[in-house]
Amino acid sequence: MSQLSERPDSAVVGQTVRHESAALHVTGRALYTDDLHPRTKDVLHAWPVQAPHAHARVTDLRAQPAYAVPGVVRVLTAQDVPGLNDAGTKHDEPLFPSEVCFHGHAVCWVLAETLEAARRGALAVEVDYEPLPSVITLVEAIEAGSFQGAQPTVARGDARVGLERSSHVFHGEVEMAGQEHFYLETQAALAVVEDDGRLFVQSSTQHPSETQEIVAQVLGVHNHEVTVQCLRMGGGFGGKEMQPHGYAAIAALGARLTGRPVRLRLNRTQDLTMSGKRHGFHARWRVGFDDDGHLQALEATLTSDGGWSLDLSEPVLARALCHVDNNYFIPDIRVTGRVARTHKTSQTAFRGFGGPQGMLVIEDILGRCAPLLGIEAHELRRRNFYEDGQSTPYGQVITQAERLHRAWDQVAADADLDGRRSAISQFNATHEHVKRAVAMTPVKFGISFNLTAFNQAGALVHVYKDGSVLVNHGGTEMGQGLHTKMLQVAATALGVPLANVRLAPTRTDKVPNTSATAASSGADLNGGAVKDACEQIRGRLALVAAQRLGVPAPDVRFLDGVVTGLGTDESLAWADLVHSAYFARTQLFSAGYYRTEGLHWDSTVMRGSPFKYFAHGVAATEVEVDGFTGAHRTLRVDIVHDVGDSLSPLVDIGQIEGAFVQGAGWLTLEDLRWDTSDGEHRGRLATASASTYKLPSFSEMPEVLNVSLLARAHEEGAVYGSKAVGEPPLMLAFAVREALRQACAAFGPQGTSVDLASPATPEAVFWALEGARSGHDRDGDVEPCEGPTPPEADQASPQRLPESEAALHHLSGA
């Protein structure tokens, strides 16, 4: 057990406690960024002027008419920017663009006394556009060669040779849609000018330090002139990692120019049409198996839809390439990736960060090939699991293979999969119009930022004279329970009751140069830093206690607010000790720091050990599909997930369940549609509201949902033996998609391979089961798809599935 991971007896970490803000949430007292403006005087409100073209040059912009609207105070344009007119770190995101790059792109902003006046002012601004040709779909981008950024390859061995060696080779393609974050709280910022001209910006941001840097960049000032605070977020999911910066910069610029507080909150339509989303991906692949179904080789090209600017598309793609293997050993492999540039919102981080898209490729392959190999899908998956000592395609050695074997067997046993599979066959045999299926899928997800430098964190812990403790750290709270865990870490490290510790909101003037709260790393990194700070303080207090108790300092123990020494019956109350320590002139506060050891990654060759460890999980899902409509229900879900030694079980189970449902939403319901026609609305998001973009509601909740945390799961490499949990369980939802595929197949003859669109909406499922029902292309007796990438699978066309299924061609062994 490492010093980092060792957990004292009776630790506060590991206890089931409710979210630290739960009582504030339920009573409506928890404050979010946009709750602040009614409590602030003389606030101006901001409204954007959004372009009605996917791609156009701004030839003229006349702000003057807006000033005729009562209440309008200022129109912000590019001319007002004192610093750099750019909202990103890649310098490809002009804050006030002269070239419109997506439908809804904001060309300028209006500030007014009321939101209504700002809205009317924005309507009055006159903008002339010269429309330009646009690229909307991934396939258009591929055909036009419209790419941006690096085109990395992860490779091991010789995939060509491996495919030649394989006795069964299949190829095909898959396209998966993106996903809207739909955090319930839209992007928001409130900027105030301080007495000396410094800016105080409250922002709903996962990355306060970068928000600070971008605000400073736009204003042309140093970072120490800008402070960013994030009270809490009403959901983030990656959508507030890079996206908030520009909105914070607009508010800050407005405040700087007018001297008044400026509030900016996007309404839902603005948020949907302006902010980035999960990347949709397209993949073409060739795969080889031996006669026993062991994977031999994989060749694949993944193309992500990056939208108009680079944003985080490169690291998202890198993570996708590093997760194409999921938990399967593929000896010879070559996977290449590229980022398409399209005239859409700039796609960005979203829980899983490319991992889900990479994994979907291999799960789709296994789900489609299993019937053609004559092996049950769950058996095919299990047969290809990693063993310890094998390495991933990018060279990281597998050391915890046993955990997934164990989780898999536990799910199979606890959920009585054998029994239920035979019950399902019976059910299907007696039900012509309704079919059920159960599927099992694993998750192996790498934890750490791929970019090594981001794997560091800081904390600032104060112990006040009365013994109360205040914790600051660099991580932000977006509902994931990070603050709750950090309170538990601090209470454990100091040996005080949880009630002694409070958390202060995340601010850049407390902990500088922080990494984004992202990559599931919030608890690992900030927990390490909080623990370090607390241990420094405890070490100093131990010296004071040693004197009072008459024992050597290493023999002093801190537990639950009582300080004892080995070999003495005397004890001290925590508050007593703190009080006397102050008078003994002891430093009662400390800055903590943590960096993850043992990482290395060479992005030029895409090799190394970028991850501290892998998080694991297994899900089994049973679904029921209505053959008349394609409507489907999730009847039962069983999950065993590896969170290490849990820091906070209620929080961890909440993360697992929430991620699963969000993943199921991405895969089965959430349906982003853009206008791809050549009409006047080309490029417009057709699902730009909550009434057209549907996320899971109560009706999508699994009727039975059993979640267990994997036992004997201590993690040496993380704080108090825990593991990250934010992202990995999202990918457990592949079990839903694979169960739907199997249920569709049950409408057809034995051995039917089903090509299922993603998302598997009722309509997509209906066409898939219709294909199975009519026995379409079961033998794959069609021409192989060679040459350039086939035309985009048009989700609007019901013809898609049979055609696409034709691409799954049995090249040999027939």
Binding site: V26, G28, R232, H433, G479, V661, M701, L705, A796
Partner: protein
Amino acid sequence: MTLQPVAQGEASLTVNGSPVPLGASITPHTTTLDWLRDRGLTGSKEGCAEGECGACAVMVARPGSPGTTATEWVSLNSCLVPVAALDGQEVVTSEGLGTPDRLHPVQQELADRGGSQCGYCTPGFVCSMAAEFYRAGRTPTHGEDAEEAAARDLEPERDHGSNGFDLHALSGNLCRCTGYRPIRDAAYALGLPEDSDPFAERRQSAPAPPMRTHVVADGAELVRPLDLAEAVQLLAAHPDAVLLAGSTDVGVDLNLKGLRPTLLVAVDRLPELRDLHVGADEVRIGAGLTLTEVERGLGGRVPMLAQLFPLFASRLIRNGATLGGNLGTASPIGDCAPALLALEASLVLAGPEGDRVVPLADYFTGYRVSLRRPDELIREIHIPLPLAPIAAFHKVAKRRFDDISGVAVAVALEVVEGTVTRARIGLGGVATTPIRALRTEAALEGTRWDREGVHTAAAVLAQEGTPLTDHRATADYRRAMLGQSLLKLYAEQTAAGSAAQDDEQGGER
């Protein structure tokens, strides 16, 4: 204008027990949500501004169902309702239900069970859940074995807790964090309100009566007349007036489309629009009753509507939306229209010259236009009795709760000795208006109700209307669903007929 303007300062709302003047800064278009938040009550949130997410939900005191309590706590989307339309009424927000030191039972359960993660949707869930907590008709099914309850495969019971909690009460609230399981557990763990509970006690006395309201600001007016005559007079004088009932449609226009009607006339509390009567030869439903009131008032006596209501938007919407409003917008996808077409309903339109009765089949004249003249309003909906013995409402949408139909099909059939003697079919989502499937009706009548006859008719039904491709569904899928709906009904009917032998799996749904 016949009304005397009332001094604006007199308009007020009781918020969390205290009267608060609406104030001079409101306009007829100011939403209740914005008004609450501007007063520092920021617990209620804006998540979508169109009544889809429920983050803005509040409780409002409304008349109870006949035979229950005088007042019922009803959850509403505060983002949709102009605050002036609530003049004189009583609103409770999450802040008013409890405090961190004294949590309300609903708040306690949600907090303890991990029902909040980011917390942004939580105050809305609290209000929706509290309204259901106080519902007079909520009766626990004590002593029922939990496994037995879970094993029951019956649709209407599926979404209920053993404490009588109807999960549909939360169908208009979205949570992006939890996956809902802990919220459901919290809902199902609730007991009954204590006798001393002030919100439970409040139900025993009547809600405030409707006020005559007149708010003028920003070049627009909101008027609440007190009777039908006044309302009709207003409409006659102002052809551009927009009728306001639950504001579930107007609110979306205000928030998302930026519409600013110059005259809003609130009609939802006109006594002449609030009758519900089941007679010997017809059912009469007041156009101003909310769908929840109709649902509870009918109590399953019109099975077609009983199938429809749980699929119609969400409880938060049904608590505001009215039949009159749903038909008044003449939307091609309003779910009530296909059902009422199959039921051969007619409308009573009230105008300056009195009432006239219009068959619903003649009412829709084009995309969002109807026979209703600007000086008329829908007063009542009549459904002739007896009802056809077979009734089915099929809605195809991406999501089971709270979604807009891709296709809606309502079928009312009479089958005598194996032959269809009468068929009435209403369709939504396949033409510019809701339509009757006349060719399919003709094909069915006189045909054997068997697999072959149904398949032939299904092929005809699949060719009805002129469905389009949009973000909800493709034209091909819509056509396929028309045909499949009849096949599904047939399968359900035959399964129901043989259900006695098939008790093991409960038959197909």
